[in-house]
């Protein structure tokens, strides 16, 4: 690993396409060895930011440093990129595809072949290695693209919507593999519009909307900040009156108690326990990222 702890440092990056401001004053840093979530709705500018990181497009202004230095052609060898729009050579076999794409990253030889076999084994694709890509299902092809992205053992990997269109089994498989990459000390940037899907994976996030950064920082800290003053409960018997609860909303299998802001969730729980009510579920309501986003987007619109 590089001794520099910042895997990515973007400062005040701007990019216009005609009248569209695809990125406006975007600044963020990605620590080495973390999973960083780049989230936002479709068309927010995520892909533009990623393409600027990959030097596929150049920012109109701003500074971008990758793995501790300005982008050089050789930097590409240390990065892996799974684009959102993806495809493979239809007529090429799986192994030929992998070895060609790896050689474009400057790696080849028996070590690469071994790693390819290991990754094919891990994803259950080994029996298909000599098939042509056109014979594979869409999900299988997506696994091959995932392997191609990490085959050259990159230090920084960028996945753009990696789980999109995958079945639950393969989604789980790839999420596990992403977690393993982090354990190996790799830095990972996950870009997705399915915000809830990646909440469990990310350490820190940058949320963008309409080309602007709207939320940036540690995921846990953000969630605490956007905590609504309410708890979810599921109990047996009557709820009765509890001090400090302003409203009660019924969600079918559970109820949401909105607190007055002065009462802590602990005192509500204590109240219930004291009254000998059987509590099946008690949870401090933390809004999912998507709701935080909606909240922010509303605020921006006003």
């Amino acid at each position: 690993m590089n001794t520099v702890s910042k895997a990515v440092a973007v400062s005040k990056a701007n990019k216009r396409f005609g009248d569209v401001e695809a990125a406006k004053d975007i600044s963020f840093e990605v620590e080495a060895g973390e999973i960083f979530g780049l989230i936002g709705p479709n068309g927010a500018g995520k892909t533009t930011v990623i393409r600027m990181l990959m030097d596929i497009i150049k920012p109109d202004s701003g500074d971008i440093r990758i793995l501790g230095e300005p982008f050089r052609e050789a930097t590409k060898n240390r990065m892996g990129y799974l684009p959102e729009e993806r495809g493979l050579y239809k007529k090429l076999t799986v192994v030929d595809t992998l070895s060609y794409l790896a050689s474009l990253k400057g790696t080849s030889g028996s070590a690469t072949r071994q790693r390819a076999t290991m990754l094919l084994e891990r994803t259950g694709m080994l029996p298909h290695q000599h098939k042509k890509v056109e014979e594979l299902s869409k999900g299988m092809a997506q696994l091959i693209q995932f392997i191609a992205t990490i085959l050259h053992d990159p230090d920084l990997v960028i996945f753009d919507e990696p789980f999109y269109g995958l079945d639950p089994v393969n989604t789980k498989l790839l999420k596990d593999m992403v977690s393993e990459l982090r354990k190996q000390g790799k830095t990972i940037i996950l870009s997705t519009h399915m915000m809830n899907e990646v909440e469990e994976l990310c350490d820190r996030i940058l949320m963008i909307n309409k080309g602007r950064s709207v939320l940036y920082g540690d995921l846990k800290e953000i969630k605490t900040r956007y905590r609504t003053d309410s708890v979810f409960i599921s109990i047996e018997g009557e709820l009765g009156r509890i001090d400090g609860v302003v409203t009660t909303r019924d969600h079918g299998t559970y109820q949401e108690l909105v607190l007055d802001g002065k009462t802590s969730p602990q005192s509500v729980l204590a109240n219930l326990v004291n009254r000998n009510v059987t509590v099946n579920r008690f949870e401090v309501a933390v809004p999912p990222l998507s709701e935080i986003f909606i909240q922010i987007a509303k605020g921006q619109g006003e």
Binding site: I56, K76, P83, R86, L92, L104
Partner: protein, 403 residues
């Protein structure tokens, strides 16, 4: 540079393994052989191997035409037209002719045949001519003179320059066919290579692989690797065709005068190959860039046809270029990069090109290639990522400035 090589090798191997490529490559020589076979078959069917048994009747009213009756055909004398006509109708002879008594002064011969033909077959005319000439002067001169009288001229023209030296390349084959063949080869290469390039780039653009490629290598490396890889594949195809054409020519057409003795001065060959390679490179780069601009393969195809047409422009001025190489049009076409290689191919064998034109044209061509490579890589890089929208000319100009 290493990655350029990787792309080069990949493109070359993928193209060589492509079924359509193999089919087209093998089909052309096969077609040539089949065509030659059919030609031979038709020839021998239409002209059954020479009229040794051909019986030609004649009525000699002038007198003294009674010798050399088995020269080229069997000439059967008849005392009168009635008898000759009967023999023709009964099929004993294939035709007959009448030598009137004033033939020596008029030269008039009346021929009767039952076959439908626009005019008398040249071979028959030649045979009858031989018979008549032999009878006219056969007794009065030697056989050598007699033979010369039958074939009085075998022409060999030599052109002299101002200093009185023989000018090279006056072979009629070199003068007309070689320019034509070279120009055709170059144009075929351009058309085929542009096809492969468009296909390859459109494919990568349509299946979105291009983004993975651009995240691994630079646009310039992709461009150069592709142009060279597909270029070598196209070159291999052309070489195979030329070799098989050579074989067919050697085996089949050696009898045709001029074709058997093709020889080219080495300096001419080197210049021809230089123009060929440079001409190909220029068009290949332009075609690759067009492939990146078009949103679909079909759209790119129509644009590329327009560009490819400029390569054929010199063909329209073929006569001017070959017969009057110093004409302003010929000079302009020699200097303009997009037409210079085809034009040079035409002019080189027929008397050469002045040194200043050669050097200016080669320099312009090389400069054009470098410019297109430079500007192309920039357009290429931007346009490859644009789906669904074709950029306007003004936007393209902006990409070149900004990228």
């Amino acid at each position: 540079m290493n990655k350029t090589l990787t792309i080069f090798r990949h493109e070359l191997l993928v193209t060589l393994k492509r079924t359509s490529f193999i089919l087209v490559t093998l089909a052309a020589p096969l077609l040539m052989l089949v065509g030659y076979g059919i030609y031979q078959g038709v020839q021998s069917w239409y002209h059954p191997s020479q009229p040794e048994t051909k019986m030609i009747g004649y009525v000699d009213q002038a007198g003294d035409f009674d010798q050399y009756t088995s020269l080229g055909a069997t000439f059967v004398p008849y005392p009168g037209e009635e008898e000759a006509r009967e023999s023709l109708l009964s099929g004993e002879i294939s035709e007959y002719f009448v030598i009137p008594n004033d033939y020596v002064s008029t030269g008039l011969i009346v021929r009767f045949t039952m076959k439908r033909a626009l005019e008398a077959p040249p071979q028959t005319v030649e045979t009858i001519e031989g018979f008549l000439i032999s009878n006219l002067i056969g007794g009065e001169t030697s056989t050598e003179v007699l033979e010369r009288a039958k074939t009085p001229i075998i022409l060999n023209s030599i052109r002299l320059d101002e200093a009185g030296n023989e000018m090279k390349g006056q072979d009629p084959f070199l003068q007309f066919f070689m320019p034509y063949i070279f120009a055709m080869l170059l144009m075929i290469s351009i058309f085929f290579a542009s096809g492969y390039l468009l296909q390859s780039i459109s494919e990568e653009k349509e299946n979105r692989l291009i983004e993975v490629l651009l995240s691994s290598v630079s646009a310039r490396q992709i461009l150069v690797g592709k142009v060279l890889g597909l270029g070598v594949a196209g070159l291999a195809q052309i070489v195979l065709w030329v070799v098989s054409l050579w074989v067919v020519v050697d085996v089949g057409l050696a009898s045709i005068p001029g074709l058997g003795t093709i020889s080219m001065p080495p300096s001419l060959l080197i210049l021809a190959i230089t123009y060929y390679v440079l001409g190909y490179l220029l068009f290949a780069v332009i075609m690759a860039v067009i492939g990146s601009i078009g949103t679909t393969a079909r759209e790119s195809q129509s644009w590329s046809s327009i560009v490819a047409l400029t390569a054929t422009l010199p063909m329209f001025f073929l006569t001017v270029i070959i017969e009057n190489p110093n004409h302003a049009i010929a000079v302009a076409l020699t200097l303009f990069p997009m037409t210079s290689s085809v034009t040079a191919m035409m002019r080189l064998p027929s008397g050469g090109i002045p040194v200043w034109q050669l050097s200016v044209s080669l320099a312009l061509l090389a400069a054009a290639i470098l410019f297109c490579m430079w500007a192309g890589a920039k357009i290429f890089r931007t346009c490859l990522l644009m789906y669904g929208k074709r950029p306007s000319l003004r936007e393209i100009a902006r990409y070149i400035r900004e990228a």
